[in-house]
Symmetry: D2
Subunit: 346 residues, 4 copies
């Protein structure tokens, strides 16, 4: 058994990582840190974990952490992550960082959207943890930047189109909708039950969400040229799930059948991407609790646009599940290990 | 008191019409028809109405209906409506038809998206019941076609831009999200609680929703030329509410301030359109239970696109409330009568 | 127009009071206080109120408040209320206090469950604001203690039985379920959307909820002797609504028909109590947004128990609506003024 | 691999059985029947199952079924089950019946609450499938009657108290709340999203729910004498979960500590019963998606009553999970196989 620790276990990503790891046959969860809940059993912070883990939340220094595990999931906020991760690497550890700190390859872009970067020298060796695009790099990496939830849903949905040059990148518009786990577990009025329930709203309208540079970075790689898109996030009154509806003008008159074949071929070998049957479209409730990304599309012949709909569980494929997938790859374990569960419906 | 009847009272539009009408100081609700529930008190079908109405659901012929009221809300499905409405008009009645049957001015378009039209001769005189655009026609009409819920939210959001020629109509993309009342009250597996709850999905992707020709008709009028758009509806796990996020390329480099002024001027005199404060965006929970359409926007300078967000309560401004607004106008009553209630939050 | 102020306008009771008052034909809302949001338009704190009120949240001293209004709704937490209310009364103002500070007639009981009372001399003259039981006292009072939400639903449900001596008070068990507005609008992890949504839990099990002494006080008055009950509150994943299921052993073999007659007679003249039809039971969604208390019951012949089900909207009949009802009574206004709206369904 | 079939796969129990079975290492799902969806891939009926099963829904005769599997989960309605199960047994098959048809040991009681029983001769050999009470019988049985969801939550909560004679059985009152999956997947107005969402109601008040005789049967066994209780079910606006709050008078003055010890001892060896920590109480969201029954309690010293709160996921521990648990026992497999997943939160 490989020894694994979660740094920052008291958020929604933390509890989901623990849920997955406590049934993982190759990883043993040996430490869970939380400043706020230090001293408390993790199963008291998250009573769903009762009898599944005896771990006590701890406030550990990096030195102490290094004695406790070889593999680390950093589930702390950006900034905190980049101050911590280099020390773990220097001690020879493997890290999947779930923050934004190592996702952007251009430090200048990072510093424009976030703040000064304290360890830019590690960016270059970081693998971007989207296995469908970077599987080989991930396998060799000691540091993987786990993708953002919005980027995961969007990049997987558009990748085949951009790689084949089938859409005009300048026309890409992405309308995304996320469940409330995406807003984290910090106490705030805006995410109280009564504020979110039975409602729906847009936020960060006009290209101001911090996931935007990450999305554009990856779409640009696929496009082999810079891509600038419009991206609008919305808040759904659900816990888990992101659904992204992406629009783009087609550059040729490819048929729906050929496009379907293209997608099926592209993702045929991917264990966690499912093309939904023709004429149907993804729904967040059909990926709930799983590491799947479901993708469907339609061509609007009247406007010659393609509309791609992609859905994930934002705290599984958009966070904890993808992180375990990455760690599996980094450790040479069968990549689906611990992630085989079917989605929960209803 | 003017005598009013609801034809088709047992759907969600019916119960909302009754809720509004039973407190309306100028209208007296004198009949409510329902084939399915004939003989049952309406307050048994909808227990929220207990003590608010003594009406018994009836299965009435048009002749009988005509003896009971002078004003009619036809809340029956398309097809049923067009077989019924002409007879009411011939008896000198005023009708607000909440179905799609008289919304489309081009019979050929209607017949392409629905079925053969049995009374096309009435289309010409029909006023399209969006008071913000057709107030004067509505005042004089004996038949008003109450707009669809999606079209109401979208047309109000884009009207100022199209009227001023500020956007390229060919680039309009509308991503709409609707609560489940939009799917009606018929028993079906797809709208069961467990299918909709804690989930989100797209449907009718690729330009196949029947509201599309209606939306394009009205946008074309505003644009003074044909408009073809992309429109994707989604199903939200909420009861009431539509939020539409509309994208279009700006044709000039107008500032956000000037645009805001334009919107404020355009809707200044409108009692049911609210421009939300700068930097904020509409949310369905802030219009819940009211006849308001809330509108906000942002300019994405990186792509030179405008993103307009508009929200309504789909069974009030998108159905029952707008119908009462129209009937008020048709009867020369102060137009906000019965619709003054503030939205419910939370 | 009578001038009214809300002290503590930024909670869910505050927004609901404002919603009701901004359409009230006899009251003019002249001030709304909030320390946290001082300087902000109330319609920015609660965007549903946009265009319905221009009030700016203020942080006002009692002296300043007294210049602004004659009637006050104190919607601040207990303790804060009792430090404030006496000064308002001394200036000749009328107050409906929505906190617990003047609900308990026995100071010792208050001090056991809350803290030391700073103005016990005002308790004696306070009317307990349940109009169905204390209408005449309320009419003459200058200070009304607005009942708690749980007590309102429970006392109305059991009053006819206790008044007629039909149940054994020692066997009363009340199982109550409340929506999340009952937990207030303060930021806390426990009431985040993701914690409450799609879940259900009991809390304060074993007779430890602070509404218990209030419930027992009123049941004891009705019973003309001390009553001790079991009371378990639960948290529902809804915004508005309380449903209480009350159990008690019948002391005689009264028929269901006679009991129904008793309830109907008892509440016949009450504008805000509805007995639901025989064989049906209340649901929170049927009182949503209204000042109604719906009551239904069944006799379990196998155990000779009666089960009473009562439902209210906790922030209307359980808070803001009942407060306005009380103020109407205190001011000699028709008591249903401003509260005539039918419940919202769905 | 043992070959397993699901009879009646298109309900919520069917999809959950499939979810569990498609990851079960010892069982191979070889057939899934559905009259309504015959010919359709099961993963089209339930898109969450895409890539997890290739089964096509079939309409199979018993003879055909017998060729396809050795173990059967009968997830059909009562009546249908009892016409089917005997034939499977006669062919030497093992059956877990999820209907009510073999749960009641007294045919007369069954026939009073349901209808004439067509195969009463099989009742005697049936094991009641609550492993915590009947593990040894289940191991030897060829027919197991899977308990109802309400009974499972209630019986596990009260068993230690009744077995030790600590409560007065005549005082037991159970107030239960169930998620909407309990109402099944048939199209009906009453379970539409808009009817259930954001609401809460009681139903079958007064001792008329068909689970009542089953609950009383098992409580009577534990009590070694007849028990008659009051039981009120309620409908929660959640998909999965039952929470039962049970009240009873204590017959001695046992301390909370001793009672806790009693419960802990009683359930110490049980893999699927968790006693929640002192001072905390179960919540449905903490057992979601798992086979756990969580139990907590408090003593109300003021009334000398104990209040027991128990929570399960009604379609796992209350249906599909418990059925797999039973089948594991019947087949001599490690009993937790396939059921090890931690609950999903949030």
């Amino acid at each position: 058994m490989l020894q694994v620790a979660i740094i920052g276990a008291s958020g929604y990503t933390g509890v989901e990582l623990t849920r997955i790891l406590c049934n993982h046959p190759e990883f043993e969860l040996t430490a869970a840190t939380s400043r706020q809940y230090a001293g408390k059993p993790l199963s008291e912070v998250f009573p769903n974990l009762l009898n599944k883990t005896d771990l006590i939340c701890e406030n550990l220094s990096v030195d102490e952490l290094c004695k406790r595990a070889d593999l680390f999931f950093a589930a702390v906020p950006h900034k905190t992550a980049m101050d911590l991760v280099p020390k773990l690497l220097q001690e020879g550890k493997k890290v999947v960082d779930l923050s934004a700190d190592y996702r952007l390859r251009d430090v200048a872009v990072y510093e424009e959207w976030y703040q000064e970067h304290s360890s830019p020298e590690f960016i270059k060796e970081t693998a971007y943890g989207l296995p469908e695009l970077y599987r080989e790099q991930i396998k060799k990496a000691r540091l993987v930047a786990n993708p953002g939830c919005y980027p995961t849903s969007i990049v997987l949905g558009l990748a085949p189109l951009l790689q084949e040059g089938l859409i005009d990148p300048a026309t890409i518009i992405v309308d995304s909708k996320s469940g409330a786990t995406g807003a984290g577990r910090a106490a705030s009025v805006g995410t109280l039950f009564c504020e979110v329930h039975d409602g729906f709203k847009a936020y960060k309208v006009g290209g101001t969400h911090r996931h935007l540079p990450e999305i554009e970075q990856e779409l640009s790689v696929l496009n082999k040229d810079n891509v600038t898109i419009s991206f609008t996030p919305h808040l759904l009154p659900i816990s888990r799930g992101i659904l992204s509806t992406s629009y783009a003008n087609l550059t040729s008159d490819i048929s729906e059948e050929d496009l379907r074949k293209l997608y099926l071929d592209r993702y045929d070998a991917e264990p966690f991407v499912r093309m939904v049957p023709e004429g149907t479209f993804p729904a967040t409730q059909h990926v709930r609790g799983s590491n799947y990304c479901d993708i469907g599309f339609a061509i609007d012949k009247r406007t010659n646009r393609i509309i791609v709909v992609s859905a994930i569980d934002n705290i599984v494929k958009g966070a904890a599940g993808q992180a375990v997938h990455n760690m599996n790859l980094m450790c040479g374990i069968e990549e689906t290990t611990g992630l085989e569960g079917a989605p929960f419906f209803p």
